[in-house]
Subunit: 208 residues, 2 copies
DNA sequence: TGCTTAATTTGACAGCAGCAAGATTGGATC
DNA sequence: GATCCAATCTTGCTGCTGTCAAATTAAGCA
């Protein structure tokens, strides 16, 4: 009985990782609506039912991809903040830049991470990864306005995040800067971040 | 030959509108991922192929639903701005409130309107409706800071929109205020809008 | 070696979008 | 009023999809 299957072994061994990888490129190519478990399997050169042994459902795979996305997002934020030096305000801007750069580089992944439509693929790990990114951001705001009250800190953290998230989201959805050069867009982003940081820092100065 | 079909006539007459209506409730119930042309047809008590005569594809129906959504969004913004009175800053806050209220009332529709994944259901009418809402917002910002340069006006329009859009988006995606009472959430929204309006107005006062 | 278990396969089911061909209706024309 | 046409809707297909069940293969361990 000649093994007609190519030289690929029956046991893939690293299928779980392979599926996450192929799933991620597929997501980036086709978007969530074009995302297919069977296509993931095809790209990993494996039968259509193989993924079932590594992921309970298609949502499970999506959750894993999103979870890792949050890890990368946090890393991108940290890296840019570090590059920005020691000034707290500059670090806040840097973190925002990292956030936007990640979203621009992986738009579909970014959408998946936040577009928690019906919560039907919420996972403890996913929730924890999202929370970690949030806390990274909150810490940066806290450092920028150490003397502010806890309530103001929370408020400004919301504010800064909403600004950055809203802007890049609208850009990705072609609502802002459609047809503009990436150079012009970058200038717009920086202006946005500057306005954000200024408002945050000012809130720390005003006694109430 | 007894007519086994119920008393419903062969020609539905208002099928296009019926599909838009059933599609919209379906969307709100199941989200974009659970949205199905056949289920729309079923709810309109019509065969699965009937929609094809009114919409080229499922994306066509979604585009029409999204287009009407933008009309309603603009109406909600205008109504709240009117309620806010004549002060330009208050009107800006009111518009933001209307925006958020619409999104909170129709979260899935709101997501559909903006989640323009692969642009595969972009339509001239949809683009125009989105643009109308944008211009409504820009006009409000312009009125609030009439003496500012054109560039600052654009910048602040982006800024204000990003703030409001980002905040409500994060709330809908359970990233902000998860598990909070709607009362507390409303307070957070108002604080957010106040910070936004203050920044906009200040940008109009500073000479550059 | 043989046995157990994990990993993968094939095959099936129901549901989906879109297409084609037939059935029914409403309205215009004669 | 009768006839024809175009619009509307239905049934039935094709090739997808996710998920399940059963069969097959490989790996690890005694």
């Amino acid at each position: 009985m000649a093994v007609t299957r190519k030289q690929t072994p029956y046991h893939h061994r690293g299928l779980r990782e392979a599926l996450i990888a192929s799933g991620r490129t597929l997501l980036e190519e086709k978007g969530l609506r074009g995302f297919t478990l069977r296509e993931c399997a095809r790209r990993a050169e494996v039968s259509h039912a193989a993924p079932a042994h590594h992921f309970d459902s298609i949502n499970d795979l999506l959750a894993e991809i999103a979870t890792r996305g949050f890890g990368e997002l946090a890393a991108a934020m940290s890296a840019e903040a570090r590059r920005a030096g020691t000034d707290a305000s500059a670090r806040l801007v840097g973190q925002g830049l990292g956030y936007m750069a990640f979203a621009a580089a992986h738009p579909m992944l970014f959408r998946l991470m936040f577009n928690r439509e019906t919560d039907d693929f919420e996972t403890p790990a996913l929730a924890a990864a999202a929370k970690a990114a949030r806390e990274l951001h909150f810490a940066a705001v806290e450092t920028a306005i150490p003397q502010a009250t806890a309530e103001v800190k929370v408020r400004m953290s919301d504010f800064a995040w909403a600004t950055v998230h809203g802007f890049i989201t609208l850009v990705l959805d072609s609502q802002i800067g459609a047809g503009e050069s990436s150079r012009a867009l970058k200038a717009r982003s920086l202006a946005m971040l500057a306005a954000m940081a200024e408002t945050v820092v000012r809130s720390g100065r005003v006694p109430d």
